[in-house]
Structure formats: structure tokens, C-alpha cells
């Protein structure tokens, strides 16, 4: 139907319209990715030119205990924080899906934390986690619990981060909410006629209907956990200021996240080659997770017979 000229014209138009993004893609994604791979095989700081060292950086990574420590911390965030966040988000979503007075206010209260600039939010939490003057330990003391030192105690630092994370599940809640609302009413009605209780309805109707969304969110949250570091950077700088020290990874390096260690290697220790090698390792992990996410989400969607 379309003439050759029209096809050609469409091609040129398409290319022109998307050209800003294509240029940006080359400049801000392709170029950095490739040069990062090259840098990972060199040794350099911000000033000197890169010097070829082969696989030395990678050998260095595998023998550096802090790399493993930081990877462990990041894995903790990925696999402990993610299920908790998903649970909280689903709970909040079910609440705001119910019909009650003040529902709009409650939804706002649950979602608002997600739009607050991360720096400001993190600072409030540092203050609330203060072992002596913070609100959290004071509220705990009402119940006779003497709270831990949270961000100052290596046993609790990561749990403090997990707690902070649950406060920030508003986006996930909204996604779960619109998934819940897309479950056809009639399913519930016929189940109710068949005598299914609330719990049974939740597990046999709700969960399968929104499984593809839950899986997608779970993996997305795992991927995000591999990028988690600005919060810990702020926490550590704040505590370092207070203690006059310069602990790079928090108490006993308990919140030295992998990306934070990359950042320190690059901009604090100026080992940019090593930082690049670490970054590439991270890139490979995230790439594998992404492919996995795409495959699993598709499979779950097909099984649910949806879309």
C-alpha cells in the first residue's frame, strides 16, 4: 500500500525524531560502557593516562576481602529487603484498595515518602535512629525495650536500612494497587458463592492474577538493590563527621555497599582501573538479572493467560 518513497520518508523521519535519543545513547551509554571495559584493564588515577595492566585489576578484586564484604552487604539488601518491601507494598496496596473513609489521606501518607528528596529523607532517618536522642529508641522505651544503636552498631546497621526501605515502598504500592484493581470483581463474587473465605480468595484468586506484577517488581527491586548506595554514602559521611573518623564503610564496614566501594575506589582512592573492573562485574550481574526478569515475567504472564 505504501510506496517506496513513503517508506523511505518514514524511515528518515523516524531516524530524525529519535536522533536525540540515539546520540545520547551513544554518548551516555555505549561510549561509557566500552571505555569502562577498557579502563578495567588499565591502571590510572584522575590525572595520569591509563596504563595497560591486563587482568591485574580483576585479580586484585578477587583477592580484596572488602570486595566480598561489600558484595555480601549488597546481596543482603537484595534478598532481605526485597521480599520485605514487596510484602509491605502489597499490604499497603490492599489497604488503600479497600473502601473506607479517609482512604485518600491514607494513600497520600503511604506514597508521600517516595517523592521526598533522598538526601532530606535520609537525614531525618539518621536523626530518628540516634541511639540516645532519636525518636525510634524513645518510642521503644515506652514498651520497656532498650533500642540498639542502629546506625552505629554493625549488627543493626543493615536492619536500619531495611526499615528505611519499607518507608519508601510507595511506588511499589501504587503498582500493586493498580494490579489489584485490575482483578475482575466477578472472580471474587463467584468464589464467594462457592464459599471461599477471605484468605482462600487472596491466595487462589488475587495472587495468581497479579503474580506477573509481583515477579516483575521483585526482580526490579533486586536490580535496584545492586545500585543502592547514595543513602549509605550520606549516613557514613554524617557519622564520620560526628565521630571525627573517616570510616569508609560504616561500623565494621557493615554498610559498605558494592557500588559505594566502587565509588570510593574511583573517587576517594583514585584507583579508577580497579573501580572500572568492579563496575563491570556489577554490570554483568545486573545484565543477567535483567534477562532473567524478562524471561520469568513473560513466563508468569503466559501461565496466567494474560496479555
Amino acid at each position: 500500500m505504501k510506496g517506496r518513497n513513503a517508506t523511505q520518508r518514514d524511515f528518515i523521519n523516524g531516524l530524525l525524531f529519535s536522533s536525540p535519543w540515539i546520540l545520547g545513547f551513544l554518548a551516555f551509554s555505549v561510549y561509557p560502557l566500552i571505555s569502562s571495559l577498557y579502563y578495567s584493564l588499565t591502571k590510572f588515577n584522575a590525572v595520569t593516562a591509563p596504563q595497560w595492566v591486563g587482568l591485574d585489576n580483576y585479580k586484585d578484586i578477587f583477592s580484596d576481602p572488602l570486595v566480598w564484604k561489600s558484595l555480601g552487604n549488597t546481596l543482603f539488601m537484595a534478598f532481605v529487603s526485597t521480599p520485605i518491601n514487596l510484602f509491605v507494598a502489597l499490604l499497603l496496596a490492599s489497604i488503600v484498595c479497600a473502601d473506607f473513609k479517609g482512604r485518600g489521606f491514607v494513600r497520600t501518607a503511604f506514597f508521600l515518602p517516595s517523592v521526598i528528596p533522598m538526601v532530606a529523607a535520609t537525614m531525618v532517618w539518621i536523626w530518628m535512629f540516634d541511639p540516645t536522642y532519636g525518636y525510634i529508641n524513645n518510642v521503644l522505651s515506652w514498651f520497656g525495650i532498650s533500642g540498639p544503636a542502629w546506625l552505629m552498631d554493625a549488627h543493626y546497621t543493615k536492619w536500619a536500612l531495611v526499615l528505611m526501605g519499607t518507608w519508601n515502598t510507595g511506588t511499589m504500592m501504587l503498582v500493586c494497587m493498580s494490579a489489584l484493581q485490575s482483578v475482575p470483581r466477578s472472580y471474587y463474587e463467584s468464589a464467594e458463592i462457592d464459599g471461599a473465605g477471605k484468605v482462600a480468595r487472596f491466595f487462589y484468586i488475587t495472587v495468581p492474577c497479579i503474580a506477573h506484577v509481583l515477579v516483575y517488581q521483585a526482580i526490579l527491586s533486586t536490580i535496584n538493590a545492586f545500585q543502592y548506595f547514595q543513602q549509605v554514602y550520606i549516613i557514613i559521611s554524617a557519622n564520620a563527621g560526628v565521630k571525627g573518623g573517616s570510616a569508609a564503610g560504616g561500623p565494621e564496614n557493615s554498610i559498605l555497599m558494592y557500588p559505594l566501594y566502587v565509588f570510593h575506589n574511583a573517587f576517594t582512592y583514585l584507583k579508577m582501573g580497579k573501580a572500572s573492573a568492579m563496575a563491570w562485574l556489577l554490570f554483568i550481574i545486573v545484565a543477567i538479572l535483567t534477562v532473567f526478569m524478562t524471561k520469568v515475567t513473560r513466563k508468569v504472564t503466559e501461565n496466567a493467560g494474560g496479555e
Partner: protein, 274 residues
């Protein structure tokens, strides 16, 4: 009877959760009206023992607060313009122009969302510093003019919902592609442009990592970097810091209050379908 008990329990749970979720905001605001001594007195009280407003002027005086705010406003405004200019154009080309590249580019757009900034930051830093562009706002602003994947996905989703016939009507009148885009498609996507406009505002206003990497001259700090200056001493003046944070957060809350509907829609469409 049983029904009303469970109703009360439900309400109690919801009220408790809502209280927990807004408590950090209350802590922020209420601490900003305390004297620093009050904040460091046991037992800790939620409300100030004496209400003072000195923390606000003191916070603005302790660091060049309004200079940082000016810097932040400048970066935010320019980024916003860039995103609004480029995003709809790219999104349009992905669903409303029939060409071979559309599917490939759509896939690549999705893929770039997964590239960790940890990987790109060293090369970007290297090239910007080579060009003498660190300690300028170029590294912070420039990406906005090349379209951000997340926004493109949202607008693309919106365009996909507009019937082709609406736009093709322009073809008969002999309009060029750009005229069809500019005169027909663009006015239609005003609501979704509001949505990404808000996201772009928020992202630029709150950005921490890019300023951290590229801006080291204190005079050029943005607010998110500047806030840390209250903390770099041996002790933190929390009352002042919270006052500074309140003013930093306020525009965001106002924006959210006005555009709440757009927020919700943007996330609902992109989160589900992306």
C-alpha cells in the same frame, strides 16, 4: 457484632500505619521548631518544649542557602525544558511513525534503564574532566536534552493509546510529519507531559549523585549537596538541619499536592506495562 470488631481493628491498624508513615515528616517539622538544647534533652519530646523559629534564619545564614537554591532552580529549570522538548518527539517516533528502527530503539530504550550508573560514572567523569567541564553544570544538564528512558516509556505508552486515525487525518491535508507531530500529537499529550514534567522536576531537584561527582566547588553546590554542610562538623545542629530540610522539601510536597493524580497515573501505567 463480629463485623464491627474487625472494622475497629482494621481502622486501628490503618491509623497506626498512617501515623508511622507520616511520623518522619512530623519529626522533621517539629524538630525544626526546637532549640538545639531541646532536641538534645532527655526525655525526648515530640513537640518542642518552647517553640522557636530562629532555626530558619540561622540555617539560611550558616551556609549560602539561597545561592544553592538558585543553583538548584537553574539546573532544574533547564533540565525540565530539555526533557519536555525531547521526550515526546522520541516517543512519537517509536509508535506513530512506521519505520524499521522503531522496535529496535524501543528495546534499547528499555535496556538502558538497567545500566547501572556505577558503570558509566568513571568514563563520564574522565571525559568531562578532560573537556574541562567538571565544576560546570553541563554534566548535570546535558543528559536532559537527549531523552531519559523512563520518561520515553511513559509517553510512548500514552501515544500508543491514541488512535492512528486521529494523527493520519493530517496526512490527507498534506501536512509533513513534523507538522502532524507538532500540531496534532503534541497538544493531545498535554496530560502525560505534565506527568513527566513533574518527574523531571523531582529528579533534577533531588539529584544527589551527579552533583556529588561533578561539582566540588562549594559555591556551585546544589541544595542536596549543601545540606551535608550542616553535618561536616563534629556535632550536628539537628534543629537547623531540619529547618533547612523543610524548606528544601516544601516545593516537592506542594508539587505533589497539586499533581497527585498525575503521579499515580504515571506510575500505574509505566510500572505495570513497562
Amino acid at each position: 457484632m463480629k463485623n464491627s470488631i474487625s472494622k475497629v481493628l482494621f481502622f486501628a491498624l490503618v491509623a497506626l500505619l498512617a501515623l508511622i508513615f507520616i511520623s518522619p515528616f512530623m519529626v522533621m517539622v517539629l524538630t525544626s521548631f526546637k532549640t538545639n538544647n531541646d532536641a538534645f534533652t532527655i526525655p525526648v519530646k515530640l513537640f518542642p518544649r518552647v517553640w522557636v523559629k530562629e532555626n530558619y534564619p540561622a540555617a539560611f545564614a550558616a551556609i549560602p542557602y539561597f545561592k544553592y537554591m538558585g543553583n538548584t532552580v537553574f539546573i532544574t529549570a533547564i533540565s525540565l525544558i530539555g526533557q519536555l522538548l525531547v521526550t515526546p518527539m522520541v516517543a512519537y517516533s517509536l509508535v506513530k511513525i512506521k519505520w524499521k528502527g522503531a522496535d529496535i530503539i524501543s528495546g534499547l530504550v528499555m535496556a538502558t534503564m538497567m545500566i547501572p550508573i556505577t558503570v558509566t560514572m568513571v568514563p563520564l567523569y574522565k571525559i568531562y574532566s578532560k573537556l574541562g567541564l567538571t565544576n560546570t553544570y553541563i554534566p548535570l544538564i546535558l543528559p536532559a536534552f537527549f531523552g531519559k528512558a523512563y520518561y520515553i516509556v511513559i509517553v510512548r505508552q500514552f501515544f500508543a493509546g491514541i488512535p492512528n486515525s486521529l494523527i493520519e487525518a493530517g496526512k490527507i491535508d498534506g501536512a509533513t510529519e513534523f507538522q502532524r507531530y507538532y500540531k496534532i500529537a503534541l497538544p493531545l499529550c498535554k496530560p502525560v507531559l505534565t506527568t513527566i514534567g513533574i518527574y523531571a522536576f523531582l529528579d533534577a531537584w533531588s539529584d544527589y549523585l551527579y552533583p556529588l561527582i561533578f561539582i566540588t566547588k562549594p559555591g556551585m553546590y546544589t541544595l542536596s549537596l549543601g545540606l551535608q554542610q550542616y553535618m561536616s562538623e563534629y556535632s550536628v545542629d539537628w534543629a537547623r538541619l531540619m529547618a533547612a530540610a523543610v524548606v528544601f522539601v516544601l516545593p516537592v510536597i506542594v508539587c505533589f499536592a497539586v499533581f497527585q493524580k498525575n503521579f499515580v497515573e504515571g506510575i500505574a501505567t509505566s510500572g505495570l506495562k513497562a
